[in-house]
Amino acid sequence: MVIFIQKWWRGYRSRRYFSKLVETAYFIMKMNFYNEMAVRIQKRWRGYYVRKYIHNYYALKKYLEAISVNNEIVRNELQDYKEMKENEEKRKDLEKKEKEEKYQARKMHYLLSTEQIAGIYNSPFRKSPDPMELLLRKSKPLSHRHQQTKSPFDYELYDWPTCKRPPTFSTAQPLPPIVRQKPQGPFRDTTEVLRQRYKPLEPTLRVAASINSPLEKAREEMKSEEWRNSIHDNEFLPFSSYRKNQKYEPSIHRTGKYSQETYGTKHFREIQPKKWVADKDFQTVLPPIVLFEKFGKTYSRAGQIV
């Protein structure tokens, strides 16, 4: 009988245990399955995310292509800049050379050939005159004025910010001239006319020098020599003017007004109000002393001559 109960109890317990076992096994199987499916989803998601955001191959390729395009642009621009600078340098050199040549031609204007005598650049054996000859013909003779000396600082130091020369990197070529209607008729070229009209005065030496010129120069020389040789700059005063600087001190009777001084008659001592003990002066008129007023008046008449 007891065994029957034990048998039933053991069976019951093991059935319970077994069902729990089955439950947990089933639960674990389900979780594994879910995990596996989750891993599949996560796999897809990770692949997508990395390919899109972290290491986007096509974006990288496009970026690199964009960089090469940008590099090309930058390289071209820099090349243009360099060429522009080189052109500018060349142009400046050319201009300088031309200026030199023109200046030389102007200086040597006397070498121009005349009707009678052929100049050195216009040899009769040549078919056409030398280019120098043509340059000489075009140029104006150099006047004998002082050329304004250009200090070497002018170009370098003050070029850029004070804009004495306009900055040269703007355009390579100068702008074309404004074409005006040429007036009809046998008129001279306007620039020439203006040049003639506003030609500055070129006075000769005789006019330009001052009248006293050699005398003045000699005077100045003497003056500077004296200044150099003297020990100090104070002028040497002549004796006659020695007393000129002395002040005239008039006597007491002469100073002041034309009338007589009151000092000596009206008052005697000098007044120094600062030394007074009280701020009142001595009284000149004193109040009468009563006792002395009575003198001769209040005494008895005995013995007096009436």
Binding site: L60, Y63, L64, I67, S68, N70, N71, E72, I73, V74, R75, L78, Q79, Y81, K82, K85, E86, E89, E156, L157, Y158, D159, W160, P161, T162, P167, T168, F169
Partner: protein, 462 residues
């Protein structure tokens, strides 16, 4: 010296000025004479009467101070100790630009030596006045003021921060557009000294909108302008990947590569280093360098230059470019760089630094290189420590690629691998075993037989 000293106290100002000028020229010529000037107690006399004198005296006195201060830090310290800095700062406030120029030149030479002297110059209140001097119209004054600011800010980040706080960056950035070459040199040098200390300073410099104007400086006709421009870009690029990215986006890499191609000598060095820094930050940037055709000029530098430090820099830069991924290493290897690097490494005449850098570069590139035709020629000459990397790479690629295996045998690579003697159990032996295992037995043994025959014939000869 004893004769000149009383002349400084003469009544006539011209004599004073000429005496000061003479002292300055003496001190300028030689360091010992400058020491004699200091020992003769002349500097305090010069300094004490400076404030009432006229501008020629001030210029001459500043010239003497500059000449004394330029030779060594001790002399500059002596100049500072006699109270010259306050006087020089007073000169900086003068109206005449020549006086300002002489004073700022003297301050620049003093500040050049070390950071204490620079700190002393800054404490005297020179920096705001120098920033004012930069804005003056005279070009010589601008040049000297820019060079002084560069000398002050090069020592430490705090000094550079002081210069930046005075508002120098905006003015310096504007002056990059100036056509004068010497001014550009100094301005670029000043900006690079400011930018080199920290990320914030570099960002401040970049915010002043110097790109892309700086790139035109790289095309200037003056060599040192190019060098200083490349230095500035390098100092900015080396801090963070974002700054390098910015430079790459602005087209800086192309400009620097062209600059390297057009120069010779030490002028190239900052450009090479800049490419190295950019490539070192990330693989995208290094790919950008490759795409901008950066490798051929670097290779040319490696071959043509004679100086060791330039070659070392070029080797380092190539190593940085090639070390990221196999694609990068392939690009480097295709340009035929590896044999050159190996030759430089094996050359015993080169300096230690050069050899170390080439070795590192080789290792870095080889560890990622899978381009076998470039690795083949290296098999023949490499020393053992490089050999193991090469053989390692072969052992990684050969098991998977049959065409490569065939090529390897026909070009004699397998024979060469057999000839290598390695200790059993070392990494090299493992690699050799892996390679041998790729091939069927007969091939390996036939090659071994051929080898023995050849060796035997040679031994018969001998």
């Amino acid at each position: 010296m004893s004769l000149l000293r009383p002349l400084l106290l003469d009544v006539i100002p011209t004599i004073q000025q000429t005496a000061a000028l003479a002292l300055g020229r003496l001190a300028n010529y030689n360091g010992d004479l400058a020491e004699a000037v200091v020992k003769g107690d002349i500097l305090p006399q010069l300094v004490c009467s400076l404030s009432e004198q006229n501008r020629f005296y001030k210029k001459a006195a500043a010239f003497v101070l500059r000449a004394v201060g330029k030779h060594s830090p001790q002399l500059a310290q002596a100049v500072v100790q006699c109270g010259a800095l306050e006087m020089l700062v007073i000169c900086l406030e003068d109206f005449d630009p020549g006086v300002k120029e002489a004073a700022s030149w003297a301050l620049g030479y003093i500040a050049r030596h070390n950071s204490e002297l620079s700190q002393a110059v800054v404490d005297a209140g020179a920096v705001p006045l120098l920033v004012l001097c930069i804005q003056e119209p005279e070009i010589a004054l601008k040049r000297i003021a820019a060079s002084t600011l560069s000398d002050i800010s090069k020592h430490s980040p705090e000094l550079a921060q002081t210069v930046v706080d005075a508002g120098a960056i905006a003015h310096l950035a504007q002056m990059i557009l100036n056509p004068d070459a010497k001014l550009k040199r100094q301005v670029l040098s000043a900006l690079s000294q400011i930018a080199k200390h920290s990320v914030d300073l570099a960002e401040l410099v970049v915010e002043a909108e110097i790109f892309p104007v700086v790139l035109t400086c790289l095309k200037d006709s003056d060599e040192y302008v190019k060098k200083n421009g490349a230095t500035l870009i390098r100092e900015i690029a080396k801090h963070t990947p974002e700054l390098s990215q910015f430079i790459v986006n602005a087209g800086g890499v192309a400009a620097v590569i062209d600059c390297i191609g057009s120069c010779r000598g030490t002028v190239r060095l900052p450009g090479i280093m800049m490419l190295g820094y950019v490539a070192a930050h990330s693989e995208n940037l290094s790919m950008a360098v490759i795409v901008s055709k950066g490798i051929p000029p670097l290779c040319a530098c490696l071959i043509e230059e004679h100086e060791d430090h330039i070659k070392a820099a070029a080797a380092w830069a190539l190593g940085q470019v090639g070390r990221h991924t196999p694609a990068h290493a392939r690009a480097v290897a295709v340009a035929d760089v590896l044999p050159t690097l190996l030759a430089i490494y094996m050359d015993t005449r080169g300096s230690e630094d050069l050899q170390m850098k080439t070795k590192k570069a080789l290792k870095n590139i080889l560890q990622k290189c899978t381009y076998l035709p470039a690795l083949e020629p290296l098999l023949h000459d490499a020393p053992p420590n490089i050999m193991k990397h090469i053989v390692g790479q072969f052992s990684k690629v050969l098991p998977h690629d049959s065409k490569a295996r065939r090529l390897f045998v026909t070009t004699g690579g397998l024979k060469k691998v057999q000839e290598i003697k390695a200790e059993p159990g070392s990494l090299l032996q493992e690699y050799i075993n892996t390679i041998n295992n790729c091939y069927p037995e007969e091939v390996v043994s036939t090659t071994a037989l051929i080898l023995f025959n050849v060796c035997g014939k040679f031994s018969l000869f001998w």
